[in-house]
Every structure is written in C-alpha cells, then in structure tokens.
C-alpha cells in the first residue's frame, strides 16, 4: 500500500512540473511512419521544447481523426475524397512529404526474385490464383522452382493508404478488380488474413510460410522480407527503388491541390505501385500551432528531405518541392 501511495504522490507531483513543453499530436498512415518518426525525433533535437507525437493508426484513422479534430494534423497515402473533405470543419491542405513504393512482399523459401504482373497480382488477391505453381505465375518466373503450396494472402485489417495505393493500382490493371472490389482505404477483401498496419502485415508475412502481402518498401527492407519485381505499363520488370519511384513521379503533372495518383505510370523505368504520401494540415489552426507546423514543414522540405534515402523513400522532385514551399504559406 505504501508503494501505491508513493506512486500516487509521485504522479501528483509530476503534474505541476509541466514545463513550457509544446506538444503537437498527429495520427495516420503507417506507410511513412519510419521516416516521420525519424523526422519528429530529429526535429525534437532541433527544437527541444517541441514534441511532435505521431501515432501510426492507418490512413483511414488519420482521415477520421482529422475530421473529428481530435488531432492537430493527420497523414494519409490516399488523398481525401471531396466528400470527406466536405465534412471537415475548415479547409484541409494535402502536403506531400515523400514518395514511396508498395511492394508485394512474400515468404517463399529459396525464392529470392519473384516476378509478377499486375494482372497476376490482382488474380492472387481475388482468390482466382490459389497455388504458387499456377501456370500464370510460372510463366513469369521461368527457371524458378516455386513450392507446390497454397498461397496465403495477407492484407490490412485497418483503413490504410497502403491499401488505397495497392487497390488503386489493381483497379487500373484489372477490370474485374475494379468492378468487384474497387479503390479505397478500407475494402471488402475477397480472401486472406488481416494484419493491423504495415507493421502487422509485414509481421504476418514474415511469420507465415508461403504468404504474400503488400507493404511499404521500407518494411520489407528493414525486416529482410523478399519482395516481387513488378512488370510495369511499358512491359519492363522493375524492382522498387528510390530511382524507379522517382521515375514514376517524373511524368506527372502536379495539380494545385497535390492530390494525384502515380500508380501504373508510363515511363520505362517507372515502378508501377508508387505513391506520394501526404500530411493533412488544417489551413487555420488554434493556439499558434499553425506557425509551429509551418516551421516544421519548412524544415522538412529542406533538411528533412535529405534523410529520406537511407529509409528507402524518394525525396520530392524539386519542382514539387517548390510548389509545396509556396503552398504552405497559407497555413495560419
């Protein structure tokens, strides 16, 4: 009991000691979580009296919590729909931060370089291709010994921008996918296991033999999970990398609201499941938070961009960076 009393006393005493520490709370996409947590950690070193707390609950969650105004900013890798934005009290700015790739991560013993096409990937996730030895897969992988096993499909159980990007791509390459499932952050999956967050899907794929899932590139890299080489629109097989993602963004015409899809891009070197990821920032903020956010965004666009490469994200193209720098001036 004495212990508890001491504990309670300690807790009570801690409260008045609250220094002039400012906290900003954000939540959303798990896709850019590794780079965001790096940024917020580094930025805390630059500005020790500011803590930016980011919780990776999924893009769907980011959009929801921005709408509810329970966070100071959100994050998503699927842009908000007009209808979603209509529900928010005040204007939301989509601020692109980095580019990333969604990779089909798989767990196959002794198979290090699996090749897939969009159509085959769609059929796997539709449940039409159920075995690794299916002729459609074998045709793309001549000379590779595929296991005679059932494919375990892993997808997200939460609302996810990674899912948005992935389903956006599948909808572009498969008419059946578009009709049956469609594009969204949360979808009605035809088959498979659900994992929470990019972390959860990567965890499940890693632990389940003969599984295939989709995760942001860095999650596959950090965990030594193999990921497939994808056939792009030009018919070339491309592995996800900073270069191939940048190539996917190269041809894009950036609209003023930054909401743009770059999946299934046309370039020869373009990786087909690439996307921008966005911070969702209120145009009008309370309690001077707008200025703090603006400062951070400026830092992110300069110093922050240099930290992206080691984590496998592609920095914003210079032209886009310039546009964003101008656009964030409206934040108050």
């Amino acid at each position: 009991m004495k212990l508890t009393l001491n504990l309670i006393a300690a807790v009570l005493l801690a409260a008045p000691a609250a220094a002039q520490m400012k906290t900003l709370n954000g939540a959303g996409a798990t896709f850019p979580y590794p780079i965001y947590s790096k940024w917020f950690d580094e930025y805390h070193k630059v500005k020790p009296d500011l803590q930016i707390n980011y919780q990776s609950i999924g893009s769907g969650g980011g959009i929801r919590q921005v709408t509810e105004r329970t966070v100071d900013f959100g994050a998503s890798d699927g842009p908000m729909t007009t209808q979603q934005q209509f529900k928010v009290d005040g204007k939301i700015l989509h601020v692109p931060t980095v580019l990333g790739a969604v990779v089909p991560a798989y767990n196959l013993k002794d198979v290090t370089d699996l090749k897939l096409s969009g159509a085959v990937l769609a059929d796997i996730f539709l449940g039409k291709i159920t075995r690794w030895t299916d002729p459609a897969i074998a045709k793309l992988n001549e000379g590779v010994k595929l296991p005679d096993a059932v494919i375990t499909v892993v997808h997200r159980s939460d609302g996810s921008g990674t899912s948005y990007c992935f389903t956006d791509y599948l909808s572009k390459v498969s008419a059946e996918w578009k009709k049956k499932v469609g594009t969204n952050t949360a979808v009605n999956w035809p088959i498979g296991l659900g994992g929470k967050g990019n972390e959860g899907v990567a965890g499940l794929v890693k632990q389940t033999p003969n599984a295939i899932g989709y995760v942001e590139l860095i999650y596959a890299k950090q965990n030594d999970i193999s990921y497939a080489t994808m056939q792009n629109k030009a018919g070339k097989f491309v592995k996800a990398s900073i270069e191939s993602v940048t190539a996917a963004a190269a041809g894009v015409k950036m609209p003023a609201d930054f909401k743009v899809s770059i999946t299934d891009a046309t370039g020869e070197k373009a990786y087909p499941i690439s996307t921008f990821t966005w911070l969702l920032i209120y145009e009008k903020n309370n309690e001077g938070k707008g200025a703090v956010l603006k400062d951070f965004l400026k830092w992110m666009l300069k110093d922050g961009q240099a930290m992206t490469a080691p984590l496998g994200y592609a920095p914003l193209p210079d032209s886009v960076n310039g546009m964003v720098t101008k656009a964030i001036e409206v934040i108050k």
């Binding site: 309670i8 947590s37 790096k38 707390n53 919780q55 890693k206």
Partner: protein
C-alpha cells in the same frame, strides 16, 4: 466375477484420478510456463537503459520504454484516485443502507458494468471524454479504467462490510455515537484490510488492460507531463511491439511484459498473503 468387477472399478478409479491430476498439472503449470518464458525472454532485453530511455525512431535498434512505464503509472494512478473513492463510498452505501429499490438498481448496474467487455468501456470513454474534448488524453484513459474499477471495488467493499459483526455496530450506536461516525470510524476500519486489498487487486487488474486504452490514451513516443495529451502505456506498447515485424521490438515487448507481469504478480501475491485467514481480520 465380483472380484473382477471390483478390480475394474478400481482401475477406472485410478484412471480417472490420473486424468484429473493431469488436468490440475496443466492448469497450474500454465502459469509457471508463462512466468518462466517471460522471465527468460524478457530478462535478456531488460537493462537500465531500457528503463530510462525513450523509444528510438522506427526500425532503429535500441531505445527504451520509459514513456510507457511513466504513462502506465500515471494513467493507472489517476484511475485509482477516481475509481477507488467512488467504489468504496458506493460500497459503504450498499452495505449500510442497501435495502431499497435504488440500492437494488445500483447493485444491478454495478454487475452490468462489471460484465461489460472492456473494449466497450473504451468506446464509452471515447464518446464521453475524447470526442467532446477533441483530444486523446491520459485523462480519458484513466476515466475508462476507473469505470472498470468502480464496480469491482464497490461490490468487494460491500461484501467485506457485510462481514463486520452486527454487534460492533450496535455497541457503538448504543453509546450514542452518530451513525455516520460509527460507519466511518468503526465499521469501515474493521473491514479496512479487505477493502484495501480489493482496491489493490482492482488496480492490478486495470494495469494490464489494453483494449480500453487504444482509442483513449492513444500512445505517445515522448514523455508528457500533463494529463491532457496522449500518453503511452505498457500494455498498449506491448501490443504494438508484438504485432510489429521488428525483431528488436519483439524483444522489447517481452521485456515490457516482464515488467508488467512483475507488477501484477507482486500486487496479487501481496494481497493474497495479506488476506490469509490466519493473519486476517476475519474471525
């Protein structure tokens, strides 16, 4: 014939008791297996740095969970400050005046709330605190945990108060002492040990709760000194680390589990030893 019949019955007897012995071994062995495994896995990642440092950015090795330890202490501590007084006073009411329809309703409500899944309590705290305040916070997590504590403490207090012999009450009342004074100064202290134990056990129980904190306390990578910001807690951290793909986080999850388990066990064992009939107040 009869002999053989008897031998068969003896055999069945022996067989059945062997089976029940196995059941008992499995049931009680599970705890030992869990404890042993956690101690083994957790101890290898547990060190001083782990206890005093903040988490590293995602995917980088090292870092600690000081934010979760402090956060859990704060959230559970505040929950106790809210839940224990309410539960104890409510329990006093039920034990001393609990005869009418109102008391019946309170008792029924307490039983209902006791049975409500903790995830639903979390849903409730979200609607009650997070949504109106427009903020995830330590406070909302504490409120959720307090709602779980209240019915436990309440019914426990009532039951222990009912064990206080009526003669004590009558003797005090006969001296002309006001009833409220009798209750506060005589009856409650007599049952004090039982009431406190119940409160402690309730604290230990909510310290391990995860579900009601997911959309209330929410999580925080930093330490936060106030009550109105999101906060990390041990069970929530164990959950997020466990489902992550990072080897290093898995090890940290085991170490965090060791800390949580040690706290829960300490409270439980203390409470039970303390309540032993041989040393207890009961007669």
């Amino acid at each position: 014939m009869n002999e053989a019949h008897y031998a068969r019955r003896k055999k069945i007897n022996a067989l059945m008791f062997t089976l029940t012995a196995i059941c008992a071994a499995v049931a009680s062995g599970t705890l030992l297996a869990i404890l042993g495994y956690i101690a083994w896995k957790g101890a290898s990642s547990l060190n001083w740095d782990f206890l005093i440092h903040l988490p590293k950015p995602v995917g980088e090795k090292g870092g600690g969970i000081v934010n979760s330890i402090v956060g859990s202490a704060k959230v559970v501590g505040l929950a106790g400050l809210m839940g224990i007084p309410v539960g104890v006073l409510g329990g006093v009411y039920l034990a001393e005046y609990g005869r009418g329809k109102y008391a019946f309703a309170v008792r029924y409500a307490a039983d209902v709330m006791n049975g409500v899944p903790s995830i639903v309590v979390g849903l409730f705290a979200y609607a009650l605190i997070v949504h109106p305040m427009k903020k995830f916070s330590a406070l909302s997590g504490s409120v959720a945990l307090a709602f779980i504590m209240i019915p436990i403490v309440l019914r426990n207090t009532e039951e222990f108060l009912r064990l206080v012999p009526g003669t004590i009450r009558e003797a005090a009342l006969a001296l002309g002492v006001p009833r409220w004074k009798v209750t506060v100064l005589v009856i409650v202290p007599t049952a004090g040990r039982g009431i406190l134990t119940g409160a402690l056990l309730a604290l230990a129980r909510v310290a391990g709760e995860t579900a009601p904190l997911i959309f209330t306390a929410f999580g925080n990578r930093f330490n936060d000194n106030g009550w109105l910001n999101p906060i990390a807690t041990l069970p929530h951290t164990i959950y997020t680390y466990a489902i992550s793909p990072y080897e290093d986080w898995h090890n940290q999850a085991w170490a965090a589990a060791l800390i949580l388990m040690a706290f829960v066990l300490l409270v439980n064992v203390t409470a039970r030893v303390w309540l032993r009939p041989s040393s207890g107040t009961s007669h």
